[in-house]
Amino acid sequence: MSLLDYFRTSKGGSASLAKERLQILVAHERSSRNQPSYLPQLQRELLEVIKKYINVDQEAISFNFEQDDNQETLELNIILPDYQAKNS
């Protein structure tokens, strides 16, 4: 590393932060692009049903839609409140 490089790299820029944010965002937008259009509505309605039986909030539920050549899967994950309590 030359003297000049030393002064340069020590500055440190914001490009790495930009890259990190874009990678997350693009991955998220790409996966939601391929999902069926009924998914957001289904998601809201399922949430209503689940709430009738279990006292969970929005963050405890995650939906994951995946597609490959021969199948589509909709994965629904609910972290139950008891479990959260035990672990907190």
Binding site: L4, K11, G13, A18, L22, V26, E29
Partner: protein
């Protein structure tokens, strides 16, 4: 049959018109009969960049409406006999472009031309949609900057779902990355996303890097596509891009900093 190239980006002001003018000229100079079409209805600008603004009589919408023939509307470029420009209309009626009308014109042009370059307007509305709908190849012009990269990715989604090729289950549009307004010194300082970063995020085939360059403004001031400024870095970058697109093997340039005297003295890479 012509090959239809759309120059697109989503985000505005990233260099689509600059690129359309340069590559259309480059293709024509290589001996291919080429037409370049301005799809920016209401905001015509390609004519200025090509330096033919005073020769516009009829436009794209006149042809669609049957008010002029294609031959009447096409303007032959003053530098190159094989290059023709079809200007956009200055009408404020956004609905004057129709899918059927655009399709017909492209079909007619296809009989006579080798390449048709479509300069897309910004955004994802009708004009941008029609510019890419019939495309075979897409040149996605991106600046190394967060909102431009994100919008390019949105465009990629549309290219693969809302185009003629997608709707008719044909082979997908070939997508190429053109990274423009690149400043290697700022990349080196960590202030700007690098070519590798952008390629990694978008996973697109890189057709070329166009450096941030004063020659672009010079070129637009005088109405000559920057590719004709053979000494300029941007002009050379576009010439490389055309050559690569036509299958020539050209190593990438303008990715690393130019060595100034200062840099040479201190042995920076």
């Amino acid at each position: 049959m012509a090959r239809i190239i759309v120059v697109t980006s989503g985000k505005g002001g990233v260099g689509k018109t600059t690129t359309s003018a340069a590559i259309a000229m480059g293709l024509a100079k290589k001996g291919h009969k080429t037409a370049v079409i301005d799809f920016d209805v209401g905001l015509r600008n390609l004519d200025l960049i090509m330096g033919c603004e005073r020769r516009v009589v009829y436009d794209f919408v006149n042809v669609i409406n049957g008010e002029a023939s294609l031959n009447q509307a096409l303007i032959r470029d003053k530098h190159c006999d094989l290059l023709y420009i079809l200007p956009a209309s200055q009408t404020r009626d956004k609905d004057s472009l129709t899918q059927e009308g655009v399709g017909k014109i492209l079909e007619e042009l296809s009989k006579d031309f080798k390449y048709i370059v479509c300069d897309s307007p910004a955004g994802i509305e009708k004009g941008a949609h029609l510019a890419m709908y019939f495309a075979d190849d897409a040149f996605v012009v991106t600046n190394p900057e967060v909102s431009s990269v994100r919008d390019s990715d949105r465009m990629l989604g549309l290219l693969s779902s809302k185009s003629r090729r997608a709707e008719q289950n044909e082979e997908p549009i070939k997508e190429y990355l053109l990274l423009s307004r690149y400043a290697p010194d700022r990349v080196k300082l960590g202030e700007m996303l690098s070519v590798d970063d952008v390629q990694e995020i978008l996973s697109l085939h890189l057709l070329g890097v166009i450096p941030e360059s004063k020659s672009v403004l010079n070129a637009s001031n005088s109405g000559t596509p920057v590719i004709l400024d053979e000494k300029s870095d941007a002009g050379q970058a576009y010439a490389d891009i055309v050559a690569r697109y036509l299958g020539e093997d050209k190593p990438h340039r303008f990715i690393d900093e130019k060595k100034g005297l200062f840099g040479k003295l201190f042995g920076s890479k």
